[in-house]
């Protein structure tokens, strides 16, 4: 072991104490500011609502480039979370990045399903919502082809859509951290063990699955992390940039949506219990959804340290799709930081632009 006192630079101690005292004072001041102020405005890139159908909103972001690619993009957001993770603040917005690079961007975003929407089924999402939005994008843009980007479970919905509507109009498919082998989501799999988890009783008794339940199941994957993040916030509360980033991520992370009851029942039975997507036995509304039927160019971005969708749950996607033009990119980062953090700005976004630009003409 080292002898700390021997190696300690005694001359630096007064400077260090002064710095810590200043930070302590800053913490008190900024702590009061933190409590009394709201966080940064999120999701503020100018957009128009093209469609609003209960839980579904379809946005069109106003182009900002002088010239745009021919093929528009439709982003399918995960049904558990809000779409502003992809449009945080200027300079840290995936949407803004795409607009600046000359893409025409639409997004399917979700609001909390209302009590009467508890009967929404998987087929409502895959056979109705997505095709309806694709039609609206076609009408609005005047183009037949559409690139689809799905994030997390939005990726699963996009895969199901692409499997069933495999003769078009989807021209390219990009999936972010999309699971297909649900056995490998080990903790979720254990939480929903069919021997103990009575999904029918749950859905029949409460209807939509409450957001608290969704959030706590996410937080249980890393039970110490929330408390540690609070400690780290206090440590860094003097640092405005840290606090801004914390507030953005914390607000989004806790802004979880309820899930429509029947839809949750289908996810549990078909995907968590029977792993039908991986086993090529998935059907939606009686129509086979085999991802081998997807033939369009596909890019799958996965995160090396994803604790929500571990790599083992996502890695078979590229092998199983029928496309000849396909690529998987494994990036440093976690489930969220891979698409919305500093890593995303440096790694994923430029990679995606490079891949998609040449396929968007």
């Amino acid at each position: 072991m080292n002898a700390p006192a021997a190696a300690l630079d005694l001359a630096s101690i007064p400077e260090r104490i002064q710095s810590e005292v200043q930070r302590a004072i800053q913490r008190s001041i900024k702590g009061v500011e933190y409590i009394s102020s709201s966080g940064p405005a999120l999701g503020s890139t100018p957009k128009d609502v093209l469609l609003s159908r209960g839980t579904l909103n379809l946005y069109h972001y106003r182009p900002i480039a002088d010239e745009i690619y021919r093929v528009p993009i439709l982003i399918v957001m995960a049904t558990t979370n809000r779409g502003y993770i992809l449009d945080m603040v200027p300079g840290q917005s995936f949407i803004e990045f795409l607009l600046k690079r000359g893409y025409d961007v639409y997004m399917m975003d979700w609001t909390a399903p209302k009590p009467e929407e508890k009967s929404l089924r998987m087929e409502d999402y895959v056979l109705d919502f997505i095709p309806d939005c694709v039609r609206r994008v076609q009408q609005d843009s005047g183009e037949t082809d559409v690139t689809v980007i799905g994030y997390c479970f939005g990726g699963v919905l996009s895969l199901l859509y692409g499997s069933i509507f495999n003769d078009g109009p989807m021209k390219n498919l990009i999936c972010f951290t999309t699971p297909i082998d649900f056995r490998e989501m080990k903790l979720f799999s254990n939480f929903s063990d069919r021997r103990y988890f009575d999904v029918d009783r749950l859905v029949d008794s409460i209807g939509n699955v409450p957001p608290e339940m969704i959030l706590s199941s996410f937080e249980m994957l890393r039970p110490a992390s929330r408390a540690v993040s609070q400690v780290n916030l206090w440590e860094n509360i003097w640092n405005d940039e840290y606090v801004k980033a914390y507030r953005m991520m914390d607000r989004w992370g806790t802004d979880t949506l309820p899930l429509a009851g029947e839809y949750f029942r289908a996810i549990t039975k078909d995907l968590m219990w029977d792993n039908k997507l991986y086993n090529d036995t998935m059907t939606v509304g009686g129509r086979a959804a085999n991802i081998a039927d997807i033939k369009v160019p596909i890019l799958h971005a996965v995160a090396e340290h994803d604790h929500i969708v571990p790599y083992d749950a996502a890695k078979h996607l590229i092998a199983k799709v029928g496309s000849s033009d396909k690529e998987e990119v494994v990036l440093k980062g976690g489930h969220v930081s891979v698409v919305a953090g500093a890593n995303a700005i440096k790694r994923l976004w430029p990679k995606l632009d490079n891949w998609l630009g040449k396929r968007s003409t």
């Binding site: 609005d140 254990n190 630009g357």
Partner: protein, 126 residues
């Protein structure tokens, strides 16, 4: 400057980080057992049932107090959302009509940028 290895702030951060990893890892191992699933779902089932019964009880209580229930407030919120949704649709239609009126022959996106962008060639600055 002090050596980073001796910096109390760095030592503290490292310790917190290691504790987080250790606790998460330990908890994940414990939560991976079938016993955990059984207990969690038993507790969750009881809690969901209790929540439902409490909700029904509260509903009766609020009716007796002549106060709006949560369901009624949600109903009102839905109506407002419905109106907002219709306003948004009207706004989008007006937007579309405005665009079309600017088009020489009523084509799409006359006020929008042309869809002629090409990807930059290899090595070209974007």
């Amino acid at each position: 400057m002090a050596d980073k290895g001796n910096d109390p702030a760095v030592i503290w951060q490292t310790m917190i980080g290691e504790m987080e990893k250790g606790f998460n890892s330990f908890a994940n191992q414990a939560m991976a057992s079938p016993e955990f699933s059984k207990v969690m779902n038993q507790v969750g089932g009881v809690s969901a049932g209790a929540q439902k019964q409490l909700g029904e009880l509260m509903e009766k209580y609020l009716v007796s107090m002549n106060l709006p229930s949560r369901a009624q407030m949600v109903g009102m919120a839905e109506r407002i959302q419905g109106i907002e949704g219709q306003l948004n649709e009207i706004k989008a239609m007006l937007h579309q009509i405005h665009h079309n009126s600017l088009a020489p022959e009523g084509g799409y996106g006359a006020a929008r940028p042309p869809r002629t962008k090409r990807p930059p060639s290899e090595g070209e600055q974007k």
